[in-house]
Amino acid sequence: MIRKVGVIGAGVMGAGIAAQVANAGVPVVLLDIIPGGAAKAVERMLRADPAPFMGRAPARLVTTGDIGTDLALLADCDWICEAIIERPDAKRALYAKLEAVRKPGSVVSSNTSTIPLAALTEGLGDGFAADFMVTHFFNPPRYMRLLEVVQGPRTRAEAVAMVSAFGDQRMGKTVVRCKDTPGFIANRIGGMWMQSAINNAFEFGLTVEEADAVNGRPMGIPKTGVFGLMDLVGIDLGPHVAASMKATLPAEDPYVLGLREHAVITRMIAEGRIGRKGKGGFYMRVKGQKLAMELGSGEYRPSAKPTLESLALRNLRELAEHPDRAGRYAKAVLLDMMSYAASLVPEIADTVADVDAAMRLGYAWKYGPFELIDRVGAPWLAQALRAAGRPVPALLEQVGDRGFYRVQDGVLEFFGTDGAYHPVPRAEGVVLLADIKRRSQPITKNASASLWDVGDGVACLEFHSKMNALDPDILALIGKAVAMGKKGAFKALVIHNEGEQFSVGANIGLALFAANIAAWGEIEGMIEGGQKAMRALREAPFPVVGAPSGMALGGGCEVLLHCDAVEAHAETYVGLVEVGVGLIPGWGGCTTMLRRWSEAPRMPKGPMPAVAKAFEMISTAQVAKSAAEAKEMLFFRPTDGVVMNRDRLLAAAKARALAMVENYAPPARGTLRLPGATGRAALSMAVQAQVAMGRATPHDVVVCEHLATTLTGGDTDFIVETTEDQVLKLERQGFMALLKTKGTLARVEHMLETGRPLRN
């Protein structure tokens, strides 16, 4: 059991790892070689965006110190993770010192990305080797979900199990077991891919935009592609990686054989053009204009969207077979990367599933290399390799015309090195909706949502519209699900999906179109329908548990506000952001925030504090940047749960829902004490003050007026009780009135077209 953690080295990785341990609520000691360096790192992280900490509370769990004087702080740590300079001698010297302070049974690991484990334990004795392993995190540690774990021949199995369990359940990572080979899995294959993508871009005379377009959406790689990624991670990193790979890999390894020095890139590094952290890179922005570098000359020119015909193709194989330069390039890169990956199992990992998981989680690829091979077809790849006179890896020969994956009896299976298919393993306690969907049919579904039986009498409502935007179909399915639950089809409901975002809110494109054709009745219907659906969730005679991950904004947030409980992935971003598009929350968001803040124990009494708090949050579209922050902001209740590992979310939500089933009674409709006109006047004055300071735009004022009217209860008075129904009606009226203004229509249009709010 790990109750306290030590991290040595407060660089980007060490500090980030320490922050994530703290995010899990576990005390952590952070030491650095530079006196005061660790404390500075914590300070820096509190200002950084994206933030390594999930709030201010975790930062208080970090104890900082210096390696030189404070090693004793590590005495009661169960796990000590080393993340210092990548030099074996320095690391070994540190380990030797650790032996004097660490407690028996504690585990030491290195976050090395380049040094073999064997080299790190040299001369340190069996006792240390038994407690030592490699734990390789990815940058940034809070957000990248991969943890590569390497054990040596002498490492204790319990040590591996303990750290793996901590990494999985507390730090939220997916643990992938690797062999002790250079670069482990992700950097070995990712490095090869980058090398091939760069070399071939020179070889085929592609522009950087063309190369990035190939190494982007068609391959399921983030749109930074390869050159954009180099700019992001730092172009100066390249030679270091190359040197380390050359030093540790055999000379005949394709990675080593493919090492090239490009004069243009060498010059970039020499001139400090090393990417975003330097003076620009392959791309740069000058006075708002995006420039791109010509690979041939090293000169910059305005960046242009590539126009090659092959780049319009959506099918990867068609792209790789297209005769234009991007097509030929795509084929060359795919052949290099895929054949390399296929040649490395089982050398670097036991299974193809492990390799794919590492690439998905460590490089944010949508598909791992073997999943990509399945997309183009293993026989196509083998044939293309033969045609190019290149060797066909044994595993590829072995799989023949089958796929590396198949679904058998509803179970996803991978192709093993033994020639048989095996179920893709899931860690104990992990329940994935994707697995349930493979083996069952939905209870009911429509174009935007489905209802699944997730066992033990619990149903799961899944959104699957684009960005999980809430539309009439989703509202309809919520209504239908509640009706089925009332009839006893299930005893508890979980609202969960495995999309990138839980839900980005109501489909404002539909609303805008309807507004443009003056279909006001239809829009009123959508607002009322939404309120009804939310109310149905809240008043259903069975527990409803929300299980979000990613963004839950606007209407997506309102869905969660109407759940009986929430089990949220730690990485959940929540807010009522309607004012960004010139609207106010219309599906009970205003009403619920009023209720929550007025019931909050620490709030001062009287009608105004809760109203003012809700007004402040909604009028400035405050977004909680983690589940922990969402609790502080009362988007979630203090009793709601936070789950660090996304893969464990559904199981946790299901357990929570089942625990609530017995004697469940839905919450009663309440009343509120709202200040009415006097409160509205106070809020108006606050808005005017913002205008005077230049912080509020003319249309902000219009939006705030409607928000203030709604939150203060309209024509009410604090001596009378205002019903929730009255506030809901005000929400509808405010929403409709705003949607009829030009300012709001312009904001919605701008958001749809640019993804950014319009400040009109």
């Binding site: 179109f513 507004a515 443009n516 054709i517 003056a518 279909a519 249009e749 077209e753």
Partner: protein
């Protein structure tokens, strides 16, 4: 011989009581646009059209254009008419005074255009094309190009063309093959063949300025690789006079169904010298500037022909005595009643009238928005106006020209067998009207433009420019008892249009084929609803004149009632077609056609 009398009374009504003259006068440069200034312009335009252009219409059709050794001759009298037209400044009526134009609003320009189209459509092609080329150079040309070409194009000394179409490339301009190679002196050498070039070669002007779409050697594929060039027939000398003959020749005249006096040329460019207009590869955008204006102009052609067909049909129906009224004898002193008394003849005449007058009103308000979009100082107002023009352009082009074809055929129908005889001139209107449904993008393409480009653009923002004012209009008048006959049907049609719009957008998002399958019916539904709005507004205006003794306003109200009761109900059938979806179109086996 057909006759033509410009409908000045109705034109004034539309300009003064339906379009917003105050809005027009609020635009910079248009402060003086009052009736005092506009009336003489309209009267003089009417005179030219009635006295000079109308008489040449039949003869021009009979004689046609001829070609000999690459030299094209227009029919007798055309040159003199062209000179008179140019000297009167009609070619530059709405052109910038800076270029020698009259600087009048396009709202007025469109009305004059209608007269020209009624009088002699083929003649109108020559100045019409020049104006399109003028607009493109004005917007996208360099200062030098503007100074060299614009004044002479405005005064008619030189004329212009738009060279887009090639044998393999009509709607799909990405297929263009004409090449442009840069020369050392900054000019380009253009080589390729163009067809269907209106006014490509003729004897009316001293020089012809071709605007040519061609591809540069480094052009990206498709429509993103098209550039626009100006290629004069005679290379201008340093003094700006026509100089050396350029490598562009007319190789043939097309043999057409109608507009025979308009020279429709096959053009060959052989290493012709030309200059880039605007930026490389941005030619299509430049062309679209012209095309939007040109599409409105083609819509006006349909309107003009509907009007002249109506006038002649009415005259014939009054004169022609056949049979007796089925509800009793009407002209006891005559051997038979005029056919005007027959219900079906009355139906035909009222239909034509409702089409022409409705379109005239819609054209006027759209042209006013075009003026606002061109001149208003506030970018927001400009954009709102442009949204409306963008939305209405395909509707005006397609529905007006469909009506032009309907109304000329109906006019011929009123004549019975005599309509089929060339001497009466009614069949010429039919033949002339047909082209307007085809060129500047067939009406099918207009419908696709509406559902594909205009409907979804900016999440439906263009639609707002129509739906919001129409709903406001309905709400403003729905309590008014006197307006009930007009507001109720308008409101119903409006609801149908809302429903169909939402449905077409919804289905189109899932399957573009569905949007395409609904497009033509949807465009007509939209157009009929827009005309219902016009007829309601015209009725509203007519109701302000209960004391009127001329019969003008009474007839207006009667036509409005006819439109609401006898034409607008077509919208229900259209909605039914749209709602039925495109399945029957999609499923039919290709081989079975």
């Amino acid at each position: 011989m057909p006759t033509y009398k410009a409908p000045l009374r109705d034109m004034r009504f539309v300009l003064n009581e339906i379009a917003d003259p105050a809005r027009l006068r609020g635009l910079p440069g248009f402060e003086e646009m009052t009736g005092d200034l506009i009336d003489p312009v309209l009267e003089e335009a009417a005179r030219i059209c009635e006295e000079i252009l109308t008489p040449l219409n039949r003869s021009g059709d009979e004689e046609g254009c001829t070609i000999e050794n690459g030299v094209v001759r227009t029919p007798k009298g055309f040159k003199a008419a062209y000179d008179a037209y140019s000297e009167g400044g009609w070619g530059g009526l709405s052109s910038d005074p800076e270029d020698g134009g009259q600087g009048l609003p396009q709202t007025i320009g469109m009305v004059v255009q209608e007269m020209v189209c009624s009088a002699n459509l083929a003649f109108g092609m020559y100045p019409g094309l020049t104006h399109g080329a003028y607009a493109a150079i004005k917007k996208h040309g360099s200062d030098e190009q503007k100074a060299l070409y614009l004044p002479k194009m405005v005064n008619g000394e030189w004329s212009g063309t738009m060279c887009l179409t090639e044998p393999q490339c009509g709607t799909d301009l990405g297929l263009i093959r004409t090449k442009a190679v840069p020369a050392d002196d900054g000019s380009y050498r253009i080589t390729g063949n163009k067809i269907f070039i209106s006014a490509g070669e003729h004897d009316l002007a001293a020089n012809i300025i071709h605007l040519v779409l061609a591809k540069l050697p480094d052009a990206p594929p498709g429509t993103r690789g098209i550039s626009l060039f100006v290629v004069p027939k005679f290379l201008p000398t340093n003094e700006g006079k026509p100089g050396q003959r350029n490598g562009v020749v007319c190789t043939a005249l097309e043999h057409k169904m109608g507009i025979k006096a308009s020279a429709t040329c096959a053009m060959s460019f052989d290493d012709a010298k030309g200059w880039l207009v605007g930026k490389p590869h941005q030619g299509l955008r430049a062309m679209f500037t012209m095309m939007n204006a040109a599409r409105l102009g083609v819509g006006v052609q349909g309107l003009g022909l509907a009007e002249v067909s109506y006038q002649n049909a009415v005259a014939y129906a009054r004169d022609r005595l056949q049979g007796r009224g089925i509800d009793g004898v009407k002209a006891k002193d005559k051997p038979a009643d005029p056919i005007l008394v027959h219900p079906d003849v009355r139906r035909m005449l009222l239909t034509m009238r409702a089409q022409a007058e409705g379109c005239r009103a819609l054209c006027a308000i759209t042209a006013t928005e075009l003026d606002v979009a061109t001149r208003h100082p506030d970018p927001q107002v400009k954009q709102d106006a442009d949204d409306f023009v963008q939305l209405m352009t395909p509707i005006i082009k397609a529905m007006f020209t469909d009506f032009g074809w309907d109304a000329t055929a109906t006019g011929m129908q009123v004549f019975g067998g005599h309509g089929y005889i060339r001497d009466h001139g009614m069949e010429q209107f039919v033949r002339d009207a047909r082209i307007a449904q085809l060129y500047e993008g067939t009406n099918g393409i207009q419908a696709l433009d509406l559902v594909g480009r205009k409907l979804g653009a900016h999440a439906g923002r263009y639609l707002r420019s129509f739906f919001h004012p129409v709903l406001a209009y309905i709400e403003q008048h729905e309590e008014n008892e006197a307006m009930a006959d007009f507001i109720l049907p308008l409101s119903k049609a409006f609801g149908r249009l809302q429903q169909a719009t939402a449905e077409v957008a919804r289905r189109g998002m899932g399957d573009p084929f569905e949007a395409g399958a609904a497009a033509t019916e949807y465009l007509r539904l939209f157009g009929l609803t827009a005309l219902a709005w016009m007829w309601a507004r015209m009725a509203e205006a007519a109701l302000q004149h209960p004391e009127d003794t001329t019969g003008f306003y009474k007839a207006k109200l009667a036509t409005a009632r006819f439109y609401m009761q006898r034409m607008l109900p077509q919208t229900s059938a259209l909605v039914a077609c749209i709602m039925a979806g495109g399945e029957t179109l999609k499923q039919f086996e290709d081989a079975a056609f």
